[in-house]
């Protein structure tokens, strides 16, 4: 079976671990437990080219205390850049990540998950900025909490990785 490495990156607390918990184990926890270090999970997904085994790397979120270790990204066929729709600054960070990825991994598939869409009332993203990202990369509006769009978003990425 084909294997594909996928890295989830984004600011701290945007929901990277929660998205994987939802996608791989169909569960969700409200309590925030920050990830320090790397966690790897796998899930097999069907694609038009047959089943693909996704090797999902959950990387520690970035902040002033910890920055992205680029050695972990090696060999990635796909990247999920996660934004928290209630925190506009996580979109700024996502933009910087995507610029870096486009430079260093021009052939990898990249997709943006705008997460926590169940918190519609607290929506904080500047639409103009989001639209400009949308022109460059596919954007999925997900909720790890309700499960909305999570499965579809990962499947789209699996297809796009070729």
């Amino acid at each position: 079976m084909q294997q594909r490495k996928v890295c989830l990156i984004g600011s701290f607390a945007v929901g990277k671990t929660s998205l994987l918990q939802r996608f791989v184990f169909s569960r969700f926890a409200d309590k925030y437990l920050t990830t320090v270090g790397v966690k790897i999970d796998r899930k097999i997904v069907p694609t038009s080219r047959g089943s693909v085994s996704l090797i999902l790397w959950d990387l520690a979120g970035e902040d002033e205390f910890q920055s992205l270790q680029t050695a972990y990204l090696r060999g990635s066929a796909g990247f999920v850049v996660v934004i928290d729709c209630t925190r506009n600054e996580t979109m700024q960070q996502a933009r910087a990540h995507l610029e870096f990825l486009d430079e260093e991994f021009p052939n990898a598939a990249k997709t943006i998950f705008v997460n926590k869409v169940d918190l519609e009332n607290a929506w904080d993203l500047e639409q103009q900025e989001l639209s400009s990202l949308e022109k460059l990369h596919p954007v999925h509006r997900t909720s790890a909490k309700t499960g909305a769009n999570v499965e579809e978003a990962f499947h789209d990425l699996a297809e796009a990785m070729g």
């Binding site: 701290f12 607390a13 925030y32 437990l33 920050t34 320090v36 270090g37 790397v38 966690k39 790897i40 090797i55 979120g61 902040d63 205390f65 910890q66 270790q69 050695a71 972990y72 090696r74 060999g75 209630t86 925190r87 600054e89 009332n121 607290a122 904080d124």
Partner: protein, 375 residues
């Protein structure tokens, strides 16, 4: 060989084992052999190797597969300093989670790989990160609330108020002229429609707050205990206060055999007390202190007082709950959250206010006590 070096050689493997280190040496391009009897977890995660005692770690661990690429370059460079992998999580055969870190080292022509299981140190590090991130998130959400308030105030004072003034002016003009003509009527309905939209925006922006305001627990089993709510808040906010050199403490004069459950709703009550604490904290100078007190107030009430050693508002602050939306700009920023505190407390049948005395000040509110015998 000196006796000391013989002792070292005998003891070193056990020393490493006790330190939770597994020491391996590369035997060929991809295989490693153990240099000592490894700690127990090593076998539970990585197995026992093949018949020759060799481990092909890249086949057992995805993370190591990736790190060994960097390690191979590092060994080839023969650099003296170690290369660390960073922490990763691995599950053993009993599904227990371990936090590991690998180090590659080049020593006298040998390629050494050390795998360490991180124990307490790692947990301390995680706790530290957790605290720091919770703190940043808390500050961000506070900023967000303030921004939201600003936007709404702008709506109310900048858009809704002028539009309402226009409507009343038109009505007054119409009255003076003995009736409204068609043009004035159409303009009037336009203005009213505009107000409708603005109000709708207002309500939607705050719909979650307004819905939450409806919740109230009156019975003994579900009503929140205000002493407990405050104690929890004081604990969780202590760090923000300390970081600004402002003291925070709480006291209760209610006898311990009396209940301090109050007619309210836990989530909202936390928000009310939290808003008042933040309001105070934002205005407190360094070295000031805040003391929260819970008192019985007659048979039926529980009174909560938030004493500030340095008053956050002057004498005029005593009227703050009377005309929130017209306060001076500095106060206005936070006024909306105070406004919601007042609406909430009113709805629970309570009362809220601010007192000013000399340099100090005191926020207070009282809520109805829920007694155990209350049906």
């Amino acid at each position: 060989m000196s006796p000391l070096s013989q002792v070292s050689i005998d003891l070193l493997p056990e020393v490493a084992r006790r330190l939770n280190l597994a020491l391996l040496c590369r035997s060929n391009e991809s295989a490693f052999i153990l240099m000592q009897e490894p700690p127990e977890w090593f076998g539970q995660i990585f197995g026992n190797g093949n018949d020759n005692g060799e481990f092909h770690l890249e086949q057992v661990s995805i993370f190591l597969e990736s790190f060994l690429v960097d390690a191979a370059n590092h060994w080839a460079s023969e650099r003296p300093e170690p290369l660390k992998s960073g922490v990763w999580h691995e599950f053993d055969k009993h599904d227990r989670e371990h936090y590991l870190e690998a180090t590659s080292l080049y020593v006298s022509g040998h390629c050494i790989l050390i795998v360490e299981s991180l124990g307490h140190d790692y947990e301390v590090r995680v706790q530290l990160f957790q605290k720091a991130r919770n703190f940043v998130l808390q500050n961000q959400s506070l900023d967000y609330e303030l921004q939201k308030n600003d936007v709404l105030l702008h709506f109310l004072s900048g858009e809704l108020a002028p539009s309402m003034q226009r409507v009343s002016r038109m009505l007054a003009d119409g009255k003076a002229a003995g009736g409204l003509n068609a043009e004035a009527l159409s303009e009037l309905s336009k203005q009213v429609a505009k107000q409708d939209i603005l109000l709708d925006t207002f309500l939607r922006g705050f719909s979650s707050e307004i819905v939450a305001m409806q919740h109230v627990s009156r019975d003994y089993s579900s009503a929140p205990d205000i002493t407990e709510v405050i104690r929890t808040l004081v604990k969780s906010e202590l760090e923000s206060f300390i970081s600004r050199s402002v003291g925070l403490s709480m006291d209760s004069t209610v006898p311990s055999n009396e209940s301090t459950k109050v007619v309210s709703h836990r989530g909202r009550l936390e928000k009310v007390v939290g808003s008042l604490m933040h309001f105070t904290l934002r205005r407190a100078p360094e070295g000031a202190s805040v003391n929260i007190q819970v008192h019985s107030h007659g048979e039926d009430w529980i009174l909560t007082e938030i004493h500030e050693s340095v008053a956050s508002l002057g004498q005029e602050g005593e009227a703050i709950f009377d005309h929130l939306l017209t306060e001076e700009p500095m106060v206005r920023r936070a006024a909306l959250s105070l406004y919601f505190c007042k609406l909430t407390i009113d709805r629970w049948g309570g009362e809220i206010g601010y007192r000013h005395a000399g340099d100090s000040g005191c926020w207070w509110f009282r809520l109805r006590r829920v007694k155990a015998s209350t049906p």
